[in-house]
């Protein structure tokens, strides 16, 4: 187990640097940040000075090593636009994104598992068909468009929810959170719901197909043949087997939500890292783009590792001696 974790961490660290390099090269290839940074009125000398100060005159590999060295010290450079450390900006914006991502995942679990279970247990009922049709709808609908529709209905037509923004926040451990105030919750509801739709659909489908496959298993029949109550069969024998794949999806889904929040944040003007990233992409604010991507990759790798560990705890067949396949 320890060896497994060490191996995963090593691969993870390697992956982060690989991605950093790729993104660095990619971003390096286009746009001249000097044009954005320096006022057109600046003299040639001033321009040269700035370029030198930022190390932009060095060849690509030198720039990368310089960047690498700084990164190892936790310094990902100053934002070109905001002229403060990129890491600081990202960390300041991150709680808003995490808040909405977690809220969305909570919604997805609370809705997805019961609905999927119901649809799997009664595959031919009208309600199940409705649930499945709905899940296909959630899967198919481009997320940003749902966001627009929701705004149109609840904010514009009905006027019961705000169109965007974060609303009132309350500081917890020095970090502002929306979910602690009613107004903040109101602001969170639409973006979190929109963001969670895809995950709801995913969990519904996974739970349903898991249920249907598991119901065909001999051990379910055997459990019934032993006279166990229906509740016991469904909520212990069935659910425990289904939860294994669902946990994987929930874990990876959380990372996905953080990444996909980019779109939702744009639709609902939610001041998280996703919007910051989009703005940075448009402005070619290299340090922020790279810092953001590295953060996302780290989250992805961390979540992946966590999922593997939880998985092995849930499935006793894997717990002893390596993974199957």
């Amino acid at each position: 187990m320890l060896l497994f974790i060490v191996k995963r961490v090593t691969i993870g660290v390697f992956l982060i640097f690989l991605v950093a390099f790729l993104v660095f090269c990619g971003v390096y290839a286009v746009g001249n940040p000097v044009d954005i940074l320096i006022s057109p009125l600046a003299t040639q000398e001033e321009v040269q000075q700035t370029i030198k100060a930022m190390g932009l005159d060095l060849p690509l590999h030198r720039q990368f090593f310089r960047f690498l060295g700084n990164t190892l010290q936790g310094n990902l450079g100053n934002s070109f636009i905001h002229s403060e450390p990129a890491v600081d900006i990202i960390l300041r914006r991150l709680p808003a994104t995490l808040e909405i991502a977690f809220f969305a995942m909570l919604l997805a679990i609370l809705m997805g598992i019961p609905l999927g279970l119901f649809a799997g247990l009664n595959p031919n009922s009208t309600r199940s068909r409705g649930i499945m049709a709905g899940s296909i709808l959630c899967f198919s609908l481009p997320n940003f468009w749902i966001g627009l529709l929701v705004i149109m209905v609840f904010a514009v037509n009905l006027g019961i929810l705000p169109t965007g923004g974060r609303g009132e926040t309350v500081d917890l451990f020095g970090i502002p959170f929306s979910f602690l105030t009613l107004n903040g919750l109101k602001h969170m509801l639409m973006p979190a719901f929109t963001l969670s739709l895809f995950q709801i659909a995913l969990i519904i489908r996974l739970t349903r197909s898991g249920t249907r496959e598991t119901l065909n298993m001999d051990y379910i029949l055997y459990a019934r043949a032993r006279g166990l109550s229906r509740q016991r069969v469904v909520f212990v024998h069935l659910l425990k087997n289904i939860l294994i794949p669902v946990v994987t999806v929930v874990g990876l889904g959380l990372a996905d939500l953080i990444a996909f929040a980019t779109v939702t944040e744009k639709v609902f003007s939610w001041p998280g890292v996703g919007r910051l990233f989009l703005d940075s992409v448009v402005n070619m604010d290299r340090p922020v783009i790279i810092a953001y991507v590295m953060m996302i990759v780290m989250i992805f790798i961390g979540v992946n590792m966590l999922v593997d560990i939880v998985y092995s705890i849930l499935d006793p067949r894997i717990r002893l001696g390596g993974r199957k396949h």
Binding site: D218, Y219, R230, N241, R317
Partner: protein, 325 residues
């Protein structure tokens, strides 16, 4: 029907279980009748697809849509099982009628420990605390010959060998001292040497506890020395039934004769194994008349009609127009 009705533990009359499939109605069990006395062992023999497992599941009340019991009755200790409310059936299952499945690998839930299986099987029918239940589990484990039961209870199913797992299943079936055990090919998935042990074990336990046994198998050799009575099934119907000795010594149905003669022991060394010519029918859209007629060497025009039951002797009946005497 022979024998005093009062002695019969189980009376199955004209039981028919159908499945609605895309291609038509599959008559998995078609007009099946038999009796079982207390302490008696009944062998239900037939090739795969002949409806023997479905017969067992119909008695257990475990037929799910698209399957349904079209007609007939099954009286267990005087109570009608067909149409009994689900909760009453549940209380019978595992308590008064226990079932052992073919593949012990598949019938135990892989993510639950053995003690969970044991304890839930006990508490499903008897209000006891966990400690008491574990004690009972250890006791039955000893009875079926599982070494160091306290330790093994903490294991997961995949940590048991096939033979041991089947012993677990037998132990579970004995938890509530049932009056009837239905064993669906309990030795088929095991090695030949283990088969013998399990066979012996079940026979001993049923004799010691005066339990009636329905032994479902495709291997007539397995139960030849075990069963008191045999029912031979073909295409959903019982084509021959009688005491084991009479059926094996004087098979009256051409199919039974074919079955017996295709056993390796019955053939002389050096000669090719005897076979029954032709293939088994798909039980969908069975044509009228005897289902075996296409493969039967004795078939003639009369076989286009449904053969009635012919009495060979007091305890030996056959469904054939041309019974072998």
């Amino acid at each position: 029907m022979t024998g005093n009705t009062m002695e019969n533990l189980l009376e199955v009359r004209n039981l028919s279980t159908f499945f609605d499939t895309r291609k038509g109605v599959l008559k998995a069990v078609n007009d099946v009748s038999f009796d079982l006395k207390k302490g008696e062992i009944l062998g239900l023999v037939g090739e795969s697809g002949s409806g023997k497992s479905v017969t067992a599941l119909s008695i257990m009340g475990l037929i799910d849509p698209p399957g349904y019991i079209a007609e007939g009755s099954a009286k267990f200790a005087g109570c009608e099982l067909i149409g009994m409310p689900e909760e009453e059936k549940r209380l019978l299952r595992g308590k008064r009628i226990a079932m052992i499945f073919q593949d012990p690998m598949m019938s135990l839930n892989p993510v639950l420990r053995i003690d969970t299986h044991m304890v839930e099987s006990i508490t499903a029918h008897r209000k006891t605390d966990r400690k008491e239940a574990v004690k009972k589990a250890v006791e039955v484990f000893r009875k079926v010959g599982i070494p160091s039961p306290e330790k093994r209870l903490k294991d997961y199913p995949h940590q048991f060998s096939g033979g041991m797992r089947q012993r677990v299943a037998i132990a579970i079936s004995l938890l509530h001292n049932p009056e009837l055990i239905i064993a669906d090919e309990p030795t088929t998935a095991l090695d030949v040497t283990i088969q013998e042990q399990i066979l012996y074990e079940i026979e001993r336990l049923s004799r010691e506890n005066n339990v009636s046994l329905i032994w479902v198998t495709h291997d007539i050799a397995v139960i030849a020395g075990l069963a008191h009575k045999l029912c031979v099934m073909y295409a959903g119907k019982i084509v021959e039934r009688g005491t084991t000795d009479e059926v094996l010594d004087n098979p009256a149905h051409p199919y039974t004769k074919g079955l017996i003669h295709s056993l390796p022991e019955m053939n002389t060394r050096g000669k090719p194994l005897q076979q029954i010519p032709g293939m088994s029918y798909s039980p969908i859209d069975l044509p009228p008349g005897c289902a075996f007629k296409e493969r039967c060497p004795l078939a003639d025009i009369s076989c286009e009609q449904n053969p009635g039951v012919t009495k060979i002797s007091e305890n030996h009946h056959v469904c054939c127009f041309h019974p072998l005497m």
